[in-house]
Symmetry: C2
Subunit: 374 residues, 2 copies
């Protein structure tokens, strides 16, 4: 897709991103997104990184997640409000931008609610490919809300998981998941408790939404060799794993400074050792070292995954000719002549004299309204 003018921003709505996934296929989308993430993690040092900037309130959090390499800047706006579903809104809503570092121009504006679920699942799979036992076949999935199907599919297609053991306190959520995935090759097993779901699983994925210090997984549930993919504990005061689960495992994180604040890791002292995943992917640090070792990926969602996901969306949308163009940035014959956009505003009666400013404007607006009504 060719930019129609220097200053048009490529814009992808929710429907556009869904169209991309529906054209490429869910499995291939997850697979390609995982490849983009993996590639970017291999060049970890190229990125200007920081912990995301969070604004907390009683009901949730709103965050900005910026990151940049020498060529491309990306950021995501994302919220987390567990009670939103009662008001008919998603718990997590997001959108983001890719911009050119050389000029600051925002090249792509995209929905990222659907994309966040896809990239979180792809990220979990990238980590599990490096950390779970090879030939893992069974995964427990605790929390069957908005992100759960994406996790199930990513582990099915990218790791070969054949059986998903489901638990959610909201039975309707589990029914919804089964409705969505019943025609896949996955074996879906509804369990009556967390313990039942976890028993015998090779991988345990927790993706619950409550903003509370929960202990979804306690040490007595953990079996040797398990890989724990902890997705839902991702903000201060919002955890899923009992601290002793972390103490008994080898813990891997995306970006240590952020996970110390937001991850299940927030429960442990600052000197508790963790490994950043990029080091494992680049073979600069060991991942799993034995079949009996318990591994934890303390996932919190890092800006780099959104950078990768936006990069994937840009490439896929361009290739498929999907999206629209929006005028977020002014088109100016002379870029120093920003004022040209409002030159007509000088002719309004408001500008005749300083003192008449406010009165004039109001009467001007009234005239226009009257003209419309006539």
């Amino acid at each position: 897709m060719k930019r129609p003018s220097l200053v048009q921003t490529h814009y992808l709505t929710v429907q556009d991103v869904a169209a991309i996934v529906n054209k490429i296929g869910a499995a291939a989308t997850l697979s390609r997104m995982a490849d983009y993430i993996h590639e970017d993690y291999l060049r970890w040092q190229d990125f200007d990184k920081c912990a995301r900037v969070a604004s907390h309130s009683a009901g949730g959090v709103i965050e900005l997640m910026p990151i940049a390499d020498a060529k491309t800047y990306a950021f995501k706006y994302v919220n987390g409000h567990p009670k939103n579903t009662f008001a008919g809104l998603p718990t997590v809503m997001a959108f983001g931008v890719l911009a050119d570092v050389d000029t600051g121009f925002p090249e792509l504006l995209s929905e990222l609610t659907l994309t966040t679920a896809l990239r979180t699942a792809a990220m979990s799979a990238v980590a599990a490919r490096a950390l779970a036992r090879p030939h893992s076949k069974s995964m427990a999935l605790i929390g069957n809300g908005a992100q759960s199907e994406f996790q199930a599919l990513a582990f099915h297609h990218l790791l070969g998981i054949e059986e998903i053991r489901l638990f959610d306190i909201d039975r309707a959520a589990t029914r919804k998941l089964i409705g969505n995935l019943q025609h896949t090759a996955l074996r879906l097993i509804v369990c009556g408790s967390i313990a039942e779901a976890v028993r015998g699983a090779d991988i345990v994925t927790t993706v619950t939404a409550d903003k509370t210090n929960a202990a979804i997984l306690t040490p007595d549930l953990i079996e040797p060799g398990m890989h724990i993919n902890g997705v839902g504990g991702d903000c201060p005061g919002k955890t899923e794993l009992h601290a002793d689960v972390l103490r008994g495992a080898t813990v891997f994180v995306q970006y240590e400074p952020q996970t110390r604040i937001e991850g299940d890791l927030q429960q442990l002292p600052a000197d508790f050792a963790v490994t950043e995943l990029w080091q494992v992917l680049r073979a600069q640090a060991p991942g799993r070292t034995s079949d009996a070792q318990v591994t934890v990926f303390d996932s919190v969602g890092f800006a780099l995954e959104d950078y990768s996901a936006l990069r994937f969306l840009r490439d896929a949308a361009s290739q498929l000719g999907i999206g629209q163009w929006v005028s977020l940035i002014p088109e100016l014959a002379d870029p120093k002549d920003l004022f040209s956009l409002i030159r007509p505003a000088l002719d309004s009666p408001a500008s005749a004299s300083p003192r008449a400013a406010r009165a004039g404007a109001v009467s001007g607006a009234n005239i226009k309204k009257r003209a419309l009504a006539a």
Copy 2:
């Protein structure tokens, strides 16, 4: 304007914001924006504030500026790339969002390039009303680029400035300003040097773009009683005032932690005393205390002005029925069923078996392309 569905975001393009200003009038827009800013500064303690998050590169900077009170969250994306004008792009480009703190829902997405120029000028006027000598009539305007006309108009309409003394190293920029403002009541005087422009002026506004430690104003140019409105020095390594100009003046800032990093203040030690403007507006600290005192407003652009500007745009656009609705956030019958958006993607051949994932997707895409071509 009524939201057509729970999840539609009100969207204002550049043309929409220009239409608002052209309907209300430039003077009244600046006046109302100044009122919104003043109102919000009076309730300074209500806001969750932080210094903006900057990503620096050789050619410029990209920044995110979040702020929130108990009800409303706002952020702005803004860049500063002084060499952009050679490529036909504005030096500063911006857009931003207002969101509901209770749900995280992004209610308004708006262009903020034009708006940033308006709100910066309105902010300067709010500060000067509190700090400049009453009955100031003459202002020097050093830097006649994209923001200069906005500053001139704001000081004309909100402070009663009658004469603007112009200087820019780019004579074409000055000609452009004169072309834009020649039919106003302002007396525009072109000066051959900074010294000539500053001589005898009541207020000196510096709004230059170079990312360098410049000394646009040196102590020998400063006369007793002047108010200096320093707008262009707003990022590390980008200053306009000689350090001794600050030392010889009483310095006022928006948000001290940010100005220490970004303002002309970056040149002075951390214990150099400054006053936050909200304290003056609330009469909790003195502003100007004598006619001979030199005052400096070390403006850097703070998130609160964008919050106020977005609030103004929301009110004005709703009243005038301006703007569009965009699908940035998914509309879901069941908010936990995000997966419903891509359920059709399961039917693609890609999902038949894990191993066929990538090959299947490619052939699926080919089939669709062929169908389109046939």
